[in-house]
Symmetry: C2
Subunit: 175 residues, 2 copies
């Protein structure tokens, strides 16, 4: 079986979560299979065009493959969290949701100017959060060398939004 | 230098977070040093008395060493999250905070009866959250074989609360 079909075999469809009418792609069973986790991490690494100087992972499911990737590549892992969660000096970026706005933050001393940074999250939907994370990277004088996601919901066109930052966008399982 | 002094050298004290009068122990710089992350993971593994069948990690900083531990030991990683975040069928446990209560959840199909489960979080304070996670493990017919934390705030006596579940409690850096 291909990596994509292995991933899809471990994803559980949960109807009406987080609200009626939405079919949620639950990736938690993937983490119960560390052989598959290693294959996914290797799949991300194979698709990297430039070795990044750091991995940025988006709270909280993006922490999981984010830290595995950083650990395998032996580069810093940097946390992006919702506003108010990071204790030290932060920079923040606000972005639009379907209803209202959200804000994410990063510590100001994590990223060095000129670095190539890979942004990871579990799922690419509209791309709003990953785009906000990319703005945080670029505001600090670094470059987004790529994005990696386990799952892409292709009908939401998230890749289009992220292309302005990098066209090295890896999604291992597409719906 | 010892592992404990290496960890302490990477922890940043942030005054008045999350509220005035509290000196927050910020462990995020640790994740920027993957050599240290590997030493911490190995430190946890050395202290394990029984090889666990699974690692439970508590949202969201507990996901970081939780998944590294599970990956190194090649055992399932199981997420404990705040109420309402896990999409599938869950069991939950409510516990007291300084003011009010909090509730955490775990998927019902993650843990098998008779398993030995290691619970991981970044920091042991009063032990309320880790105790609640232990109740979730035990309610499903599994045993808590141990706890692992990067940091312990010893003056809050968290170990006393957790001893009823397991006395294999590892804290790599103590304050």
């Amino acid at each position: 079986m291909s990596l994509e079909s292995n991933i899809k075999a471990s994803i559980r469809d949960v109807p009406d979560f987080p609200k009626p009418g939405i079919m949620f792609k639950d990736i938690t069973p993937i983490f119960e299979n560390q052989v598959l986790c290693n294959e996914i991490t290797e799949g991300f690494i194979k698709a990297i065009s430039v070795k990044p100087n750091a991995i940025v992972g988006i709270e909280s499911r993006g922490f999981l493959f984010g830290i595995l990737l950083a650990n395998k590549l032996n580069v810093p892992f940097i946390l992006v969290r919702k506003a108010g969660k990071l204790p030290y000096k932060t920079i923040s970026h606000e972005y639009a949701l379907e209803y209202g706005t959200s804000k994410i933050e990063m510590h100001t001393d994590s990223i060095k100017k000129g670095w190539n940074v890979l942004i990871h999250d579990d799922l690419l939907a509209t791309g709003g959060t990953a785009d906000a994370a990319a703005h945080l990277v670029e505001q600090q004088g670094a470059k987004v060398s790529g994005f990696s996601f386990v799952v892409e919901l292709g009908f939401l066109n998230g890749k289009q939004k992220l292309n302005i930052h990098s066209n090295n966008i890896t999604c291992l399982a597409q719906y």
